[in-house]
Amino acid sequence: METDLIRFYDALPGDVLATLPLTLVAAAGVWLVVRDAFGSSLRELAWTSGAALAVGILFEATRLDTEAGTAFYGMVRTGGYASFVNIVILSGGLLTVALSPSYWRRTGQEYGEIYTLILFATVGMMVLGSANHMAAAFIGLETMSVALYVMAGLLRDNEGSAESALKYFLLGAFATGFFLYGIALMYGSTGTMYIPEMAAGLAESGRVALFRAGAALLLIGFFFKVGAAPFHMWTPDVYQGAPTTMAGYMSTTSKAAAFGALILILRDIASVDDWSPLFALVATATMVLGNLLAVAQSNVKRMLAYSSIAHGGYILVALTAGGVAAWSGALYYLLAYTLMNIGAFGVMAFLEWDGKAGQEQTLDSLTGVGLRKPLVGVAMGCFMFSLAGFPPFGGFLGKYAVFAPAVAAGYAWLVVIGVLASVVSAFYYLRVLYVFFMRSPESAPESAPPDAAFSSPLALRIVLVSCAAALLVLGVAPGLLGVIRGFF
């Protein structure tokens, strides 16, 4: 015991350094709670959290090519794969922090805990995404989820927001139960909580049925968190009711974290257990349902919620295929998806205050926005085309990266379903754009007169331009795919 403790303290500086972004963001979160309590300006809180996230990104970027390792007694992974997942999560957090001040100022409900919650949720996601031990995965999942439940309900006097939070909390807690029970059964059958050792443990004990039962329950938990059918029901209600910037944040980073953990779990148990048929089924249902239901939506936020379900389905196609190329494709897709979806939600968040009409967030209320606000319009064009998977945007190469390995693995039929679903998705994404650009305001009689003083804040413009530019780079320069392949 004592030697354990000594070894722990000996390793501590190294571990902290290796997981610097994690500790830094956590520490910044605590610091923000304290500063907020002593009445610091919201401006300071925003800048502090932004700085912590930015430093985290820079740090992880330097560690992308380092050897993957573990820290804190093998609880979390570091370097390589974990660094990439963390970069996706931290970027999502940073973009959301940048979008937040102007959004919340307009709601009139600007609280300091917004930033604290983003930081804590980010910490949870990073732990989940880089988990090497089932306990770490669970702790990460819960830290993330609790922060997200609160986030969804931050618009305190808004009924939709409260409903969103409550729904998310009840269903989420239920799913967590499945997750935990799954971990227990897997531990029972393998005798270990360390993910990489589970396969060996199972081979030793031979209790395959118990392990399968555990893995199935665990997968239910994951499917819930990534919004895969048939566990997707909560997504539209939650995203529609949640504050818009937060909806963008949770729809992207939480997927990145959950998929980040799931990919490694699948990789490590691939030798003893093959879940491909189930994944194929879930991917099909998710892509088809997400896209078909999105067509029927007139509220753009809700449409984006369904579309984010569908995007989870595309990533599941890669997980169905399995293998290095597929997993790296999934990671590439997650990065592109994070940028384009946060961008799209960012545009919607901005438009929410565009006169009275904007708050409805229906297609009709957005008439002619692209012509009045060319920058916002062009950026939205990039995001929509990228989401629909058109070159030269990141969404296209992302789709290539998840679909190509699936074709190679013999799932051409699944890819055909995927591309047909994409055609459906093109219909509703293009619909947003024609409302933006091709309908002139005169032809929509009901729309309230646009607010003349309504100007786009600098932070928003920076976020939109950088997301769009990054998507262009991801769409024409696939060099990153090679880097990601090196992680496995």
Binding site: A325, L371, F385, F390, P391, P392, F396, Y400, F403, A404, V407, A408, A412, V415, V416, V419, L420, S422, V423, A426, F427, L430, R431, L433, Y434, F437, M438, R439, P478, G479, L481, G482, R485
Partner: protein
């Protein structure tokens, strides 16, 4: 050869111009930047034409190549562009139409000019890239890239039903092309296993070297062909075309008819035939029948239109039916005819759309009943219209005749589709074309001048005459001296047909040689002696 990276320059110069138009401060500057870059691209492409070596032994080699690594090494996807005989004339056509379209939009587009010209330039990069790409994945990227600008050009600057037309255009094309993407991926892995050491490849020459099993071809061919057939469009997938054409602004229609449709026929020639020769042989007759139906159907529907632009739109279906017929004849004459007919159609239909656009600018109507007798008020426009119509209808001495004649001749000689009834039916399309086109000219330009508004029509301005002259001159030159152009594409056509023949030979090995010779028809016996070396040249 004197200019390094000339092919890439021709492709990406318009894109650079698009960046400049975004920076331009005034509408005036935007138009001049657009004109300048398209003219520069055209002049560069003249260099391409001059540097192109049409000697027979180079038939199977891309020229003026730029080839650099693009994807990480785990897959063999490269930035690989160049020109060969199949693409050279289409590249020239694209760059030629560039400045013409810019000029034709000079006053026609009077709102949001900056956006319009930016999209137009991006579109030109996409189309040129499609014709220059020698990597299937790169081809696909350019192919899809053309959808985005065209969607906006139709949707923002188009007519009353523009949104319906734009969405229909995108969804039709997208359905076909995304399925083709799955096909490309599948083919890439299969070819990678067979000829590229297990590495996924989309290099055109490696895919050409891969002789896909017949069972694979039987379903990959339809997948590829569907994407291209939508684009051409082959009957019965044509329904998006009249909508898109009628609603698009003049410039959009010209690009659509002039070059975008050619991406479909070009794709058939470039990919479907050489990659899947067995399946292409099996599907030749169905395609020829569909093409013939398209020829007659397009012509008959044209005849009953009251809107002149719609008439020309349907005539495109008819004219491209000839091209498809020529492609699936598998004879040198027909293939050469199809290639030259693609250019012809781009010139003459482009000219017709331009002229109708000029009339629309003056009268804001395209109904033929609203005109009549205007030959007296706009004699110059009438001259150009009659000239273009005669070219389009295939008057001997003008360009349309050359292509249609070669196609019909080659198709008739073909053992695959050379059924007299079929060819006679297709040939009737030429007569029908004369009927509906001359009828259109008669109703619009001749007869009594009975509408007051038509008495004061302005004739063509200097700008309008200037943009028509290159087209008219080329129609004349192509009609009188087609060999100058045909010889550029001859080696590549020969190479293509030889490689198809070689793959067929390999498959038919068991049968006596005579039998095979009968099967392949009379297509240019002279070529048999020189084919094997040319075929085995690339990437070995």
């Amino acid at each position: 050869m004197s200019i390094p990276h000339i092919t890439s320059l021709v492709i990406f110069l318009p894109l650079a111009g698009a960046g400049l138009t975004l920076l331009a401060r005034s509408d005036r500057a935007v138009r001049w930047v657009a004109l300048g870059t398209t003219v520069a691209a055209f002049l560069l492409s003249l260099g391409l034409f001059a540097a192109f070596d049409a000697s027979p032994e180079l038939g199977g080699t891309p020229q003026l190549v730029d080839k650099v690594a693009w994807f990480p090494e785990s897959v063999d996807i490269k930035y690989f562009v160049g020109v060969d005989g199949l693409s050279l004339l289409l590249v020239m056509l694209t760059t030629l139409l560039g400045p013409i379209v810019v000029l034709s939009s000079w006053h026609y587009i009077n709102k949001r000019r900056q956006g319009y010209y930016t999209l137009l330039l991006i579109l030109q990069t996409g189309v040129t890239g499609v014709f220059c790409a020698f990597d299937v994945f790169l081809f696909y990227v350019f192919f899809e890239l053309t959808l985005i600008p065209m969607y906006f050009i139709i949707g923002v600057w188009g007519g009353p039903r523009r949104i319906y037309a734009a969405v229909k255009f995108v969804l039709f094309t997208l359905t076909g092309s995304l399925l083709m993407l799955v096909g490309i991926l599948y083919l890439g892995y299969a070819a990678g296993d067979a000829v590229n050491g297990g590495v996924f490849t989309t290099d055109w020459y490696k895919l050409l070297a891969f002789d896909a099993p017949a069972s694979l071809q039987a379903w990959l061919f339809p997948v590829f062909a569907l994407a291209f057939a939508v684009k051409v469009p082959v009957f019965p997938l044509h329904t998006w075309l009249p909508d898109a054409h009628v609603e698009a602004p003049t410039g959009g229609s010209v690009i659509l008819a002039g070059t975008l449709l050619k991406m479909g026929t070009y794709g058939l020639v470039r990919f479907c035939l050489p990659f899947f020769p067995h399946a292409a042989y099996d599907y030749a007759l169905p395609f020829a029948i569909l093409a013939t139906i398209g020829i007659i159907y397009g012509a008959l529907v044209s005849r009953v239109q009251s809107d002149a632009k719609k008439l020309v739109a349907y005539s495109s279906i008819s004219h491209l039916g000839f091209v498809v017929l020529g492609i699936f004849a598998f004879t040198t004459e027909a293939m050469q005819g199809a290639l030259i007919q693609m250019v012809n159609h781009g010139l003459s239909t482009g000219a017709l759309f331009l002229l109708l656009g000029m009339l629309y600018e003056r009268r804001h109507t395209r109904e033929m009943d609203d005109f009549g007798g205007i030959a007296r008020t706009v004699p110059v426009l009438t001259f150009f219209m009659v000239f273009s119509v005669l070219a389009s209808a295939g008057l001997p001495g003008l360009n349309g005749f050359v292509g249609e004649f070669m196609i019909l001749l080659g198709a008739f000689q073909s053992d695959l589709i050379g059924h007299p009834v079929l060819i006679a039916a297709a040939a009737s399309g030429v007569i029908l074309a004369a009927v509906y086109l001359l009828w259109m000219v008669y109703k619009t330009f001749f007869g009594p001048l009975d509408k007051e508004a038509n008495r004061t029509l302005r004739d063509m301005t200097g700008r309008e005459i200037a943009l028509m002259i290159p087209l008219v001159v080329l129609m004349f030159v192509l009609g009188f001296a087609p060999n100058r152009f045909l010889q550029k594409s001859e080696p590549a056509t020969q190479f293509l047909l030889d490689s198809i023949r070689e793959k067929r030979m390999a498959a038919e090995d068991a049968r006596p040689a005579q039998d095979a010779a009968r099967f392949f028809g009379h297509a240019s016996p002279a070529s048999d002696s020189k084919s094997p070396q040319a075929v085995s040249e690339p990437n070995n």
